[in-house]
């Protein structure tokens, strides 16, 4: 690891000033940042530790919206039983992420901004990686192993997969991100936060230098209550998703009135399957329609070598998640 300066500002404006400096980076729980610094993938000149900004802590559940501070710990939110009843998808997707130790350390602002697990990105011995070293090529696409890469949203320059879980719930339920930076405060629709890799995979979000995520809000809608996060992974805990689905349902009698579907483990950025949502609206929810919806969610997927399984797996996971959400909408598990 390279030597760096360390700041721990006590207020927001000092934090923004420190963080906008060339070569400075924001530090929250550090589970991503310190990890990448140790392996030489990120080499900031300065770290601006924002954990002293008390305003960014905690979360609260309002009538109309749920607010999450950017410094709320994954563990605290995952274990909130009130939230689990009101919006199971928001707790389940955190609870099934990482490990207890990591969830204690990691904060929600850092969580949504986590970076890909593409092994070529994380190992500097590979000279080709457009995300790490723009213009150097893509080792994954140059004959490498792509079974864990994006089948949705990738480009010719980068097919890295966005690995996070919670973001899938946020995108499905129209979350908003509230920030403050050198240019003042702004509200960003969660769907606009991450940008597709295109030919600039090194640019991952629309955040400006020094712009700090303060909190995240999720509007309360009926589909939140009958929601579910289903995550398929090779081991029972402490593994990234091979495929996952964040779903919610609002039923009107036998008919689906509203449905939300976010897809994890398969796409370059947090992914909302709008076409599949549209398909299911107005239909009844049966195993057949659930499976059909799952298939539509992956209609545009382009599998890479070794990742063909994700299309079928992803579709089955969407269907399974919808079945559980449906049971929940009927008052069952």
């Amino acid at each position: 690891m390279r030597n760096f300066d360390y700041h721990r500002p006590a207020d927001m404006s000092a934090a923004i000033d420190a963080a906008r400096a060339e070569g400075a980076e924001i530090l929250a729980g550090g589970t991503l940042m310190v990890d990448l610094m140790k392996i030489g993938v990120r080499e900031p000149d300065a770290l601006v530790d924002i954990t002293g900004l008390a305003d960014l802590e905690g979360h609260d559940i309002g009538m109309d919206r749920i607010r999450f501070g950017a410094l709320a710990r994954m563990a605290d939110v995952a274990d909130d039983q009130t939230l689990k009843t009101a919006a199971p998808v928001l707790t389940e997707s955190l609870w099934k992420a990482a490990s207890p130790q990591l969830r204690q350390a990691a904060r929600l602002g850092g969580n949504i901004l986590q970076q890909t697990r593409c092994p070529y990105f994380r190992d500097t011995a590979y000279s080709q990686c457009n995300k790490r070293a723009p213009g150097s090529g893509c080792a994954a696409l140059d004959g490498g192993k792509t079974n864990l890469h994006a089948i949705l949203g990738g480009s010719d320059d980068c097919v890295a997969m966005y690995p996070g879980d919670w973001a899938q719930a946020l995108i499905a339920f129209d979350a908003e991100v509230h920030t403050q930076g050198p240019g003042g405060t702004r509200t960003i629709s969660f769907a606009d936060l991450h940008v597709m890799p295109g030919d600039t995979p090194q640019i991952e979000t629309i955040l400006e230098p020094g712009e700090i995520v303060k909190h995240i809000t999720v509007p309360v809608i009926p589909a939140l209550k009958a929601s579910h996060y289903l995550k398929a992974r090779d081991r029972e805990s402490y593994a990234f998703a091979s495929a996952s689905a964040a779903v919610g349902l609002e039923m009107e009698g036998e008919t689906v009135r509203d449905v939300r579907i976010g897809l994890g483990g398969v796409a370059a950025v947090p992914w909302r399957a709008r076409q599949a949502e549209e398909h299911l609206k107005g239909k009844s929810l049966t195993e057949e329609t659930a499976r059909e919806t799952g298939r539509i969610a992956f209609a545009d997927a382009s599998p890479l070598e070794g990742s063909e399984y994700k299309i079928k797996l992803g579709a089955d996971v969407v269907a399974g998640a919808l079945m559980t959400a449906h049971a929940r909408s009927q008052g069952g598990e």
């Binding site: 690891m1 092994p119 490498g144 090779d234 081991r235 402490y238 091979s242 399984y309 399974g320």
Partner: protein, 752 residues
Amino acid sequence: MAQTLNTAVSRTDAPRKVTGTATYAADVIPAGMLHGALATSSIAVGTLTGLDTSAAEAEPGVVAVYTHENLPDYKSVKGFYAGGPGSASFWPMEGTEIKYAGQPIAYVVAETAAAARRGAQLITADYDSRPADVHMDPADSFVIGATGDSKGMVATKGDVPKGLAEAAQTLDVEYTTPFQHHNPMEMFASTAEWRGDRLTVWMPSQSVRTLRLGIAKAFGLPETSVRVISPFVGGAFGSKAGITPYAMLTIAAAKAVGAPVRLIVTRPQMYTVATFRPESVQRFRLGADETGKLTAFEHIEIAQTSQFDVVTNPGTHITRAMYASPNIHTEQRVARSDTNTGGFMRAPNEMQTFFGLEQAMDELAHKLGIDPVEMRRVNDTDRHPVEDVPFSSRSLMECYDSVSDTFGWADRTAEVGSMTDGDWLVGYGCATATYPTNILASNARVRMRGTGHAYIELAAHDVGTGSYTIFAQIAAARLGLPVEACDVVMGHGDMPVAPLAGGSGTAASAGSAVHDACLRIGRLVAAEVSRQPEGPLAGVSADRITLEDGVLRGPDGHSQSLVEALASTATTEVEAVGEFRHPALTDKLIRATFSGGYGTAGPVTPECAMFAFGAEMAEVHINRWTHEIRVPRAHGAFAAGTILNRKTAHSQLMGGMVWGIGSALHEVTEVDKPRARYLNANIAEYLVPVNADIREIRVEMLEERDDYVNPLGVKGIGELGIVGTAAAIANAVHHATGRRLRHLPIRMSDLV
């Protein structure tokens, strides 16, 4: 006297381990110690054409950077498979040749570990790179060593094609297993301190003798000038057996820099600077009559090796001992690849081969419509099918009967896909486990005091298995002392010779030497008391006095406790060196062990075949939506002769089964083919089971008596538990889904 053997005794070293006072190698900090770090090659095969160390040298805290140009010379020693003490025969940084990705190319010494690692990151290299393949090409394989001899790498009995022609059903299949890398909790580490021509090395080791001998040879020192210290080992599993490049480089760097140096290898580097479980192909051709009896048995194993060693882990030696068949052919082949030399990983000959064998038996049983357990029963044998000698003991079917009972095998409905539980498909599978009994020469010194204390010393190792405890138990049982009164000291190269901690041989061989030392103490004390003018055994001829459970007994009913007898002597203390020399041990084998090698007389001697056995059963659940594979239950029943400590043995067997679940469903080193590098060299992406993956594991240890193997009747249990697990799970997956998955690991991507 409470029973101290065949009972559950907590580890004597547990308090030290949980309070952090057990001193592991890397805990020792000699005065003035500096820190080492390795820079490794990014290419797999080629030549180093340039190395820029200037940035590293300019980094604050960096003291020196060593490369092939300025590192002090040492004499290369041979790798283990070439009869030497090294983990491989090729030593990095001797020249510019690069033979595998992640090969050390420079060694940085600095005032802090952080500065050393930063220095290593700053080194840049130029290469002349050549194409490389991390995988072997099975088509390019060759037979190891001599042919024709059934003890050799090829064995033939009868006529396999004829046996296949006569069969009611045949099977011709191929299974593959991936390479797996060692991830013990304790990182690889080594600390070297030179004082003039005397050298001390602290390093976690499975064989301090091998290390001492090899280091002395490499640096041209008399063995007596080298101290190797390894009292505690945080998991080894085969990875800490030979001298590794990182240790040799550390010793050389410490010599050059003139100060003690400690290197802690990083987790990713652990994948390239030491041994691993080679990938393999297991080919089976089996034939059976309609009752299930085998008419033909052919097994060809092809295992991966490096360009500079021939890894010989002969799995077919083990599979051909399992089942009766009139016609048998086995072959042990290897194929080269551009990797470091592989080696041992828990059950190095058995894990891969039994994944093949025990699935093949299941496949054949399925074809014949025979219950898989019955398939094993009709082929059970009390003589070695090739060597035609009896088994010293063999309780395979007793194990099956026991595990069938606890597991509820009778509830299994034979038809594929016939069992479900809600959204989960359910499957039951079984498999045989075995492990050869190794017989190795060993010595041990025991000193006993009339105060009721004993000190046991030997150059054996507790690699986390519980050896400290069982040696104390053996001495306690023989000398009639409480376990706590027996102090065991191990892991120093200058103690009495004990074998390398591998092949599940420590308890059996080194334990037998401790046992023998205690009997000798009995004889020495008997001689003393028989000469005394008074006392219960005064005047009794010494050779008619025996030691039984700490009591000296004369022929006429007179007896005296050993402690009392010893207290009554003039010296009140006595010392003896015990020896284990099984009649099957030739001078050549004994010499091999005494010179740091592995001189085993097992598992087949001219009189007997010696194996521990087990039977494992697994229940597998497969989710219909996520296709996730989970193992809610795994049961195993094992018979391995005398169980010295039912608690530590249980842990060993259970740990083996846990690892077996990992092998079945999780573990694999992913490879980037074009650049011949590993992709998941870290424990976030190299999956092993976590707590949530392990639910019910049940271990039964059956009573079994074996008077042939050694005086304690002990076979080995350290590796037995892992052997059948992966096959049992694969068989259960087939039972649940009808899918035959002939590769490891089995993942949900295989089942969508």
